[in-house]
Amino acid sequence: MSENSSKTIIVRTFVLSTFVLAFIWFYWLIGQDKTELPSELIDSPAPKFEVADLLIDGVTHTQEEFKGKITLVNIWASWCPSCYVEHPFWKEYSKNDDIVLVGLNYRDEKSKALKFIREQGNYYDWTLFDQNGRLGIEFGVYGAPETFLIDPKGMIRYRHVGVVDHKVYQEIFLPLIEKIKRGL
């Protein structure tokens, strides 16, 4: 085989493999869910706030209350259909005593939010009433439901966009919670 023809084979193989790799990369890329945004707040302290409790008049909460315990902050609203699907899971979860479950009622009308709690059940340890959505924006929320995992130092460790169910909890949240418990 002449030197020229072996060179041509090398060039052709290189071009062909580049195209194949580009195709695989492109195929992988379009399979990704690019609508889900990573949270900017991972490994940052929870935002500062002073927001009223939804259920108890005159009571306000701050980010300081996250300290000392592992906390899950669940963003929900009465206008959010997926929240009705997700909510029954929290009933099962509320039996878990070593973790605090906080509801963040996002951009809702108080009467409708209270109706939701009355009809669907209250499984939250306490619920923030973020009527104008400003606390949601501090958390970088872009929809509901979303759930944040906060460690005992008040640092955000994970943000889940969408419904949390048994599978999501077992596969994503539980390993992270175990990691936090081990002090990592």
Partner: protein, 135 residues
């Protein structure tokens, strides 16, 4: 004919629905402030409806973010402060013109690398063929 016309008009009248157009009204003291508001709301992407900017989106989140931009301009914050506020909460994604960073540096330099590689190959090919032609 006029009866039919009257009947048709009546039907159209009965089945017509009121339609209201809403526009956002942001009042600024100077045209410069208004211009800054327009530029910023065009440069910022809506995190909810991701192919639109804040100016073109009517989602609730966009309206809230537009109001924050407005309040911050009125409060005297600079464009950079406002962009930093948004970036801190929604990340680089919220900017339609991303800034160069460690994560995207390849995207910025890749075109130059490709042109350079092409030039090197082209020059080598050209030199070889020139030598062959000279022979």
């Amino acid at each position: 004919m006029s009866r039919q016309l009257l009947l048709l008009s009546s039907i159209l009248f009965i089945f017509s629905f009121p339609c209201f157009a809403t526009i956002d009204v942001y009042e600024f003291e100077t045209p410069e402030l208004e211009e800054r508001f327009k530029l910023l709301t065009h440069e910022l992407r809506c995190p909810k409806c991701q192919n639109q900017n804040l100016a073109g989106s009517n989602s609730t989140l966009s309206l809230d973010l537009k109001m924050i931009v407005y309040e911050k301009i009125i409060a005297g914050e600079t464009d950079q402060q406002i962009l930093d506020f948004m970036k801190k909460r929604y990340g680089e994604f919220i900017l339609f013109k991303p800034e160069m960073s460690q994560n995207n540096v390849f995207l910025w330099v890749a075109p130059f690398i490709f042109v350079l590689v092409f030039l090197v190959f082209f020059l080598r090919w050209y030199m070889t063929h020139r030598e062959v032609d000279n022979d």
